[in-house]
Subunit: 175 residues, 2 copies
């Protein structure tokens, strides 16, 4: 199934479908959906390789948007990136769309000489599938802030480290 999925950019006409997918997942609260849409609106106004937020969509052969990912460089760091959201239409869960999106992000980041990709998620039971997804994709729990989000709701920080070129001198090889 995922082999027939096309990865492409998003434009303003995808906004309603992005909102629909976020709501359909059932794991985002309304205020979280609002934040995701604000970032979507801001991100599309600055489409460049240096953009703070890059969006990629997963499209069926019929050109229907069935999932998307948002990521970008972490300000104040040397080649660290944040993965802000991956959302996939629940009707398409299990078809490898999340994996296809994440693999494409990692491929692009490798090309940008990224050093580290960071994903923050919750310890709540409704995020168990999310955590298992990242673990299967080679992400490791780097840190956990006890009861960060709420009582009994920890912030878990997953990271994946990329192989970076050896430095040939004293200078950083930052992008």
């Amino acid at each position: 199934m995922s082999s027939s999925i096309r990865i492409g950019g998003l434009t303003g006409r995808h906004r309603e479908r992005v909102a629909e997918i976020l709501l359909a997942t059932g794991v985002f609260r309304l205020d979280e959906v609002d934040v995701a849409l604000e970032v979507f609106d801001a991100g599309r106004t600055t489409p460049s390789a240096n953009s703070d937020y890059t969006f990629l969509g997963a499209f069926t052969p019929e050109d229907q948007l069935v999932g998307y990912v948002c990521y970008g460089p972490t300000s104040g760091t040397d080649r660290t990136f944040d993965l802000y959201w991956i959302a996939v239409d629940p009707a398409m869960h299990g078809a490898g769309i999340g994996t296809t999106l994440l693999t494409e992000v990692e491929r692009r980041l490798t090309g940008q000489h990224a050093r580290l990709l960071v994903v923050e998620t919750s310890s709540r039971s409704d995020y168990a599938q999310t955590r298992a997804f990242y673990r299967r994709r080679g992400y490791t729990e780097s840190a956990r802030v006890h009861e960060f989000y709420a009582p009994s709701d920890d912030r878990i920080i997953f990271t994946k480290r990329f192989l970076t070129l050896a430095r040939t001198g004293g200078e950083h090889t930052s992008p």
Copy 2:
């Protein structure tokens, strides 16, 4: 010394002095100073108890700004707050101004029924005084992301937990 320090709000006319203090500390890069000033400009446009960013300044009896703090609620959390910046004019270091500012933040957050205050800092040697400052004020290292900022530069997450009222029912007592 610190007993004669007045804590008060900041307005646009303090912008230049805020930039001066940030640069004088010697621990912020130019791009970090830019981010701090962008937040300063954005924060002052929405001065309310629900503001994302609250600024407090420390003033001498001659009304000179010698330090400031910026904090706010962490989006998507239940009563967790971020301490974004404390900066004190190096000419006034050792006078207890940082402590005066932090104590005032904690006093205000206790009034807002905050549950957790989070400070993120670096493992670099030039932040040793910063880390010692937070430890003395009762902050504990809750988590650390290895080489988050750069090779050999970890992200250290300090937290202070506040006593919160016991709940009397099944409802949250969020502000």
